[in-house]
């Protein structure tokens, strides 16, 4: 790590610590709920809700003339659930595509919200900028003592939120899981999928509101989607996915704050960027679903096929002619050239399957056994195809060439039983034992 950043870490204050704590609370709550949104392919509903709750906040403010938590909370919850409901209703009743109906609803609500806020802007410290970026930098300025602990006001409301979110997930873990993966199955099992949907949406709305004043809507959207998606790349198990998402959220909160202090910039923005970097890392390097591992998997398969093709080629050459001078260069050219055949050739020599002489290639005993197995699979498959399918003889080689790499010894034995009387393949070549 850059020494400047280390220096920044050394100078962090208690306020910064509170920022990290509050940020972690927001990120973990959002990240946990976000897992379900990502799995249910409703990530954008989180985005829509977090934009749409603006008029709810504004109306609650206009009615009560204060920034009291409860009315704002209720107002935003109502609008949040209404957004989910209206998107769904316009989609179903008026036959509008789901994404378009969502887009119409949330942009309209957002517009209403901005207008309401500008209309009352004289008496309000809820300015449109704050809606987007929040003011997490300043949570330390508004402290409140409860149960003998002095903590930021946002800490207390977010502590309640995270308790509710965790409680909800623990209580309805099984139901949520079934609803997320197979809503129809859930319905047949007597779980009310619609009810679960709206419970989840109201929790998303509630979390959004609570997170809203401290961190603003960008961070909420980022945290609803990015940790869940990151975790989805890293695991196939829901319980681990939830834990990974929470961890991503905490790392984003801590690193985001440190970097933001270091470069003196927006904390909420930096937290989303850190989350994005973690996601990018997962996309590239995730053990099973990452680009690298998929590429490796693909390449190792491709190079195994090339190696086996080389073995079979040398075997056939020696089988058909007395000429012993098949060279490595000839083989590589026959396979289309390029890096892969060269590497495969090298690999075979190092593994001791092909002899060291490059001008007259020779299979070792082990190489001969492997090659014989491959050629046997190939010719058995051709015989099998010829026996059971009405294919012209020149159409047999192509499928067998592909299948030979994937025939296990068991399958080979069963094929041999199927074509028990065949001593040669349909082309008249001997099937090796």
């Amino acid at each position: 790590m850059n020494p400047g950043v280390l220096e920044t870490i050394r100078t962090l204050s208690t306020d910064d610590a509170w920022v990290m704590v509050v940020g972690s609370l927001v990120n973990v709550s959002c990240g946990l709920l976000g897992c379900y949104l990502v799995l249910r392919r409703q990530s954008l509903l989180g985005d829509a809700i977090s934009h749409a709750i603006l008029p709810g906040l504004a109306v609650a403010f206009m009615l009560t003339h204060s920034r009291a938590v409860l009315p704002m909370f209720l107002g935003a919850m109502a609008v949040g659930v209404l957004t989910a409901f209206l998107s769904q209703t316009i989609h179903r009743v008026a036959n509008v595509p789901e994404d378009a109906s969502m887009g119409v609803v949330f942009t309209t609500f957002f517009a209403v919200g901005v207008i309401l806020i500008t209309m009352v802007a004289r008496h309000i410290d809820l300015d449109p900028g704050c809606v987007l970026y929040g003011a997490i930098e300043f949570v330390g300025l508004d402290m409140q003592s409860r149960f003998g602990l002095t903590a930021p006001r946002a800490f207390w409301s977010l502590a309640v939120v995270i308790a509710v979110v965790v409680g909800f997930i623990v209580l309805f873990y099984k139901e949520l899981k079934i609803v997320s993966f197979d809503a129809h199955l859930a319905t047949t099992m007597g779980i009310n999928a619609t009810l679960m949907h709206y419970l989840l949406m109201s929790l998303v709305a509630g979390t959004t509101v609570a997170a809203f004043e401290s961190v603003g809507s960008i961070l909420v959207v980022a945290m609803l989607i990015v940790p869940g998606a990151t975790a989805h790349l890293l695991t196939d198990r829901l319980d681990r996915m939830l834990m990974i998402a929470a961890a991503v959220g905490i790392v984003s909160a801590i690193m985001g704050n440190i970097l933001a202090v270091h470069w003196n910039t927006s904390v909420a923005g930096m937290m989303s960027v850190v989350a994005g970097l973690q996601f990018a890392t997962a996309v590239v390097a995730a053990p099973r679903y990452g680009l690298i591992s998929r590429w490796l998997h693909h390449t190792s398969l491709a190079s195994r096929v090339v190696r086996e093709d080389i073995l079979a080629m040398i075997y056939r050459w020696h089988e058909s002619t007395r000429d012993r001078s098949l060279s490595a260069a000839q083989v590589v050219r026959a396979l289309g050239g390029g890096l892969l055949p060269h590497l495969a050739m090298l690999h075979l020599r190092v593994a001791g399957l092909v002899g060291p002489d490059q001008t007259a290639l020779r299979l070792t005993r082990a190489g001969r056994d492997r090659a014989r197995g491959l050629v046997r699979s190939h010719r058995l498959w051709e015989s099998y195809l010829a026996k059971h399918f009405d294919l012209p003889i020149d159409h047999l080689h192509e499928p067998a060439e592909r299948v030979e790499h994937f025939v296990s010894p068991t399958l080979r034995d069963r094929l041999a039983e199927e074509v028990i009387d065949a001593k040669t393949d349909p082309h008249g070549r001997r099937i090796p034992p």
């Binding site: 990502v38 392919r41 990530s43 954008l44 989180g46 985005d47 934009h51 316009i90 008026a94 036959n95 509008v96 595509p97 789901e98 994404d99 378009a100 109906s101 969502m102 887009g103 119409v104 942009t107 309209t108 957002f110 517009a111 209403v112 901005v114 207008i115 500008t118 209309m119 449109p128 900028g129 987007l132 970026y133 960008i218 961070l219 959207v221 980022a222 989607i225 990015v226 869940g228 998606a229 989805h232 790349l233 933001a260 470069w263 003196n264 910039t265 927006s266 909420a268 923005g269 930096m270 937290m271 989303s272 960027v273 989350a275 994005g276 996601f279 996309v283 679903y289 680009l291 998929r294």
Partner: protein, 434 residues
């Protein structure tokens, strides 16, 4: 007389509405409505980077920056969708929030700079239509021309791409390149519109006119023209309203005007609108109820058709799961249209016209029953069709065959003094009443 500045802004937002209506229609049809939203967010870091590099607010450079990061955003969404297990919605959400987060980080850096010529950049978030100058309008006008030209020249290609991409690919069309052209146009429109209406409102401008136009028509070219008109109207009326009531910001007002058009379209559009659909639903229910009544009346008097005795509502309730008040209501409705008459002792009977229509209904019903029982395997596609005229659904010889069987079973409805002799004649006639 409208002041020159207002005129400029009106032109700008009007043109912007037209162009985003057109390109947005394609996005809505391709289920890419929220791509515009992601794009608009992804443009912010580009704008900030361009500013950081140049150190001043130079419009074309800012637009270029926005164009670059917007395009990168689209590419990231596409890559994530194709190369990983991340679904499109999550991909859009990730690009939207992370790019925007990066934009906010850069924006704050710019605002902290001593030379912080901050004027302007945050307008890209909420938009500032009033700040439009002639140069902006020229840009929008140019983009407008390009988009309309592309929509006209590539009309056939875009149409197929919007409705059936897979089919376009099997025809050998370069769907990927066409897709890139379409997304590129979307990026350009978004970027040009950002300074005027802001990030969220730009998404609305792209989605709402197209979604509104879709209600009115099933034809793409009509939809595009309508969306352009709606978009233009939205821009002009919204700007005019916000200029008249000076405390209202233009972007949100424009969105609200668009939303109003959407609600009107959704409610009142013929055929696809909610009212029209509800109306046709009500009509269908009414007709079904009437036909059920006629059939029940017919079945009650079928044994004694010549005398056609009057029946009581109570008799109807014995054959149907109707309450007596409901039966009375149905009878009264039938009497209003002259299918049923009330006798002097307070009972009801079919009029001549009512009998004729009842015969048609009964015939269809029994043919259909017969068909479902004997040849249902053909019918799976058609069972839920409103088959009040069975000839439209089934072939002539099937109907003839079914009719013969009904006659053999003694279930052929007789309505007039002379029952129809030739089923063939009926099939040729093709009408509902024999």
């Amino acid at each position: 007389m409208i002041p020159f500045n207002t005129m400029v802004v009106l032109c700008g937002t009007g043109l912007l509405g037209v162009v985003s209506g057109i390109i947005g229609s394609f996005a809505v049809l391709r289920r890419r409505a929220l791509m515009g939203d992601a794009l608009a967010h992804a443009a912010l870091p580009g704008i900030c980077l361009a500013f950081l590099i140049l150190g001043e607010r130079h419009l074309p450079a800012l637009l270029l920056g926005a164009l670059i990061t917007g395009t990168v955003g689209v590419l990231v969404v596409t890559t994530l969708r194709h190369a990983t297990r991340i679904k499109e919605d999550a991909a859009i959400g990730i690009v939207l929030s992370v790019f925007f987060g990066a934009g906010v980080v850069l924006l704050r850096v710019i605002q902290n700079m001593p030379s912080g010529n901050r004027a302007g950049l945050d307008h890209y978030i909420y938009g500032k239509a009033a700040g439009m100058v002639v140069q902006d309008v020229q840009w929008i006008g140019g983009v407008c021309l390009v988009v309309i030209l592309a929509a006209v020249l590539l009309y056939k290609e875009f149409t197929l791409l919007s409705f059936d991409t897979a089919f376009a690919a099997t025809l050998g069309w370069p769907t990927l390149r066409l897709d890139i052209v379409m997304m590129g146009l979307l990026v350009i429109v978004t970027v040009v519109g950002l300074p005027a209406v802001g990030v969220v409102m730009m998404a609305a401008m792209l989605i709402i006119p197209g979604a509104s136009a879709r209600f009115w028509t099933e034809r793409l070219h009509v939809m595009l023209i309508l969306a352009a008109v709606f978009g233009g109207l939205t821009g002009i009326v919204g700007t005019w309203l916000s200029a008249t009531f000076s405390r209202l910001p233009a972007g949100p007002v424009i969105v609200l005007v668009a939303a109003a058009i959407f609600v009107v379209s959704m409610t009142f559009a013929p055929r696809r609108g909610i009212l029209a659909r509800t109306l046709s639903h009500v009509n269908l229910r009414r007709r079904t109820a009437r036909q059920n009544l006629l059939r029940t009346m017919y079945e009650l008097v079928e044994r004694d058709l010549d005398a056609r005795p009057a029946v009581t509502p109570a008799a109807l309730t014995r054959l149907r799961a109707w309450t007596e008040p409901h039966a009375r209501r149905l009878l009264a409705a039938g009497a209003r249209v002259g299918l049923i008459e009330r006798t002097s002792d307070g009972h009801f009977r079919l009029t001549d016209r009512g009998l004729l229509e009842a015969v048609g209904v009964v015939r269809t019903h029994r043919l259909w029953e017969m068909f479902l029982i004997e040849q249902a395997h053909i019918a799976t596609d058609h069972v839920d069709r409103d088959a009040d005229s069975i000839e439209h659904v089934l072939g002539a010889d099937i109907i003839r065959d079914l009719e013969d069987r009904l006659v053999q079973l003694g279930r052929w409805p007789h309505g007039t003094a002379r029952p129809p002799r030739s089923p063939h004649e009926i099939a040729v006639d093709g009408g509902v009443t024999p």
